[in-house]
Symmetry: C2
Subunit: 429 residues, 2 copies
Amino acid sequence: VTPRRVVIVGAGFGGLNAARALRGADVHVVIIDQHNYNLFQPLLYQVGSGMLDPGEIAHPVRSILRGQRNLEVRLGTVTGIDLAARMVTTDKGDVSYDSLIVAAGSVTNHFGNAALARSTNGLKTLDDAIRLRSSVLECFERADEEEDEAERRRLLTVVIAGGGPTGMEYAGALMELFTHVLPRDYPHLDFSAVRVVIVEGADRLLDSFHPQLAARAQRTLRARGVELVFGRRVVDASEAGVRLDDGTTLDAATVVWTAGVRAVSLGGSISDRRGRLDRVPVRPTLQLPGQDDVYVIGDLAEVASRSGEPLPMLAPVAIQQGRHAAKTILVQMSGAPAGPFRYLDKGTMATVGRNQAVVQVGPLRYSGFVGWLTWLFLHLLYIVTFRSKVMVLLNWGWNYLFYDRPIRLITSPRARGAEDPVTPQETSP
Amino acid sequence: VTPRRVVIVGAGFGGLNAARALRGADVHVVIIDQHNYNLFQPLLYQVGSGMLDPGEIAHPVRSILRGQRNLEVRLGTVTGIDLAARMVTTDKGDVSYDSLIVAAGSVTNHFGNAALARSTNGLKTLDDAIRLRSSVLECFERADEEEDEAERRRLLTVVIAGGGPTGMEYAGALMELFTHVLPRDYPHLDFSAVRVVIVEGADRLLDSFHPQLAARAQRTLRARGVELVFGRRVVDASEAGVRLDDGTTLDAATVVWTAGVRAVSLGGSISDRRGRLDRVPVRPTLQLPGQDDVYVIGDLAEVASRSGEPLPMLAPVAIQQGRHAAKTILVQMSGAPAGPFRYLDKGTMATVGRNQAVVQVGPLRYSGFVGWLTWLFLHLLYIVTFRSKVMVLLNWGWNYLFYDRPIRLITSPRARGAEDPVTPQETSP
């Protein structure tokens, strides 16, 4: 008998945990992703600020799942799902399934605003982070040469649209870079011109956290020099900077867009109904309505929580849903019905930078140094491989002790032959 | 009195050591490079084979030279040098000098062959190494899906043109990756189809080493499965593979070009005479003929050795020349004449991979495990920063113990928005 084919779309937190939960089971698992690596997104902002190397937060999927004999990894971009034919189509060919777990995640959401898509930098993919690191550092190089004061100020201004955890953590990391590291690199540059501005539509940061914790984070950020603009949205961006919804403009060379994500468009090929942020509404069991063999999990799935609100787009949700979907498939194979998914909220946290993080676990809320240690410990714990734990810990220790960001590299792949600019005629004989 | 302006073009081994040798001197130093980092080229092949992260061999120039008060770092591409006006022109503006050290290095040499420039991958820049890593790994992904046997063999064949240290070290590292690491990633792939072929025009590898050492390296490489083709040159390359000068063709998806470098074209703006490989002939003092204030060093300079042959394009030559040029400038300032440069050959070495390297120091020649330990120790010693020494040592230890290459990442910056392939209409509203 051919074992049941379980196809998993996406090797993020959700897909990976689904795959692991199927280890040793009597199924054949195929996991498909457009990248050959799993990205530890919670630390992406540290690549974007020169603290970590890409290899420390990106791990080859084949490594992670090595030794799982019932499993096959495919590198490919999923272009559609045919529910009737039970088929996943990819740019490398079709893959048939008996059971399907769609864990394709989310992408940066510019809300259809082409100017924002063109002139802002996301912080969602590894390429985003490397490009952002290069771009910020390049601005300092240019500022160091710039005679015009207004232009220098523009080069030294970073606007971060969005005051959620990503925007806040990146702001804190950047401010540390600008305050403790770069002044030693640019001894002649006037650092009083440096600005990091968070623009947030709500009236506070971190709307998923308790107001007291948000207030604490805001105090720390402001004390460290980050400017906070509340009740405003970035509605336009260009080379020159941004325009807010009240007409104010801010001159800024770097605009980071962390103000929204949405579920991937792939959702459209499995569901006519789309929830908030394009998520796909699923049953409490995580099954697609009318499709007992199709599970949708993670950022892509809209699942109601006990409060009635959809569960947030967070790693712990995806992890638990991945395990639930995998186990439910095994339960179904034994003839039993699928049970509902219950999210166990283990708490959330975010760091403001050195020595400061906010943590909430159920009714428990704390911040400061103890919060920061909690943040450090738990993030280290969840980093996917042992080697990366060691490397990340060393980098953190180095950064903490020496106020250094060793990976301040401006890298941008150029065309072949571009290294020798004087006579690039070599390639055209 | 304004201090003398010493401009250094290039922050490679030569330029960096010139800058360091001017520390504390009564001069104003400006060092210009197109990258903001110094690249430790001897370990570039380890980035290209997934062993090291870019941040471990690339170090920000500003970090390395931090605290040197008489020094200014500029990021820019030098487009020309005007000897009459004593001016260096860059894409970011002109820089005047009193003394000039040109250490602009070398680039990959395709000998004017456009097909080779287009269809082969160099191993000279950080981008080269990252692109090569991605490209080799992507071939394995495609081979794993490929039904056609001939095409699968093509995907699994790497041809390395050039049997110098770079080609040989990369061949050894790749073979280790293909033998010990990737078979666990692709349990269903037939690895007997994997080929690594070095094509070398001479009748042996490592023509700068003693024949006995070359023979030893060749035996080891062959025992590990690397094929060696001598007396042949790659004269054409395409998607399909390569053609050799005797008409033989080899189907190969990856072609690495390490068969030649040449001095950068910038040499043309300071000298009408060009030596072998476009190098600029200089006086024994390293001064440009007729220009007492212009020094040319490193790969760009053609300096006769005691044997009459030009000194090789090697890091130790550039390092010693950098120091010599810097010191000579200080000597000149005191009114004394410039003295000749003498190269102290401390020996050369190359590793064949795990447990095997060839070392020659004057009349002393050895290889094997002791050679390998020497190679490890000296490379660690020369890595520019303490932090990188620790990181590289950890990575090497990890690789040695677990036969792992943790940084097997396929990364290729895509256009913004390309992460969500189904409906990329978002950017055009």
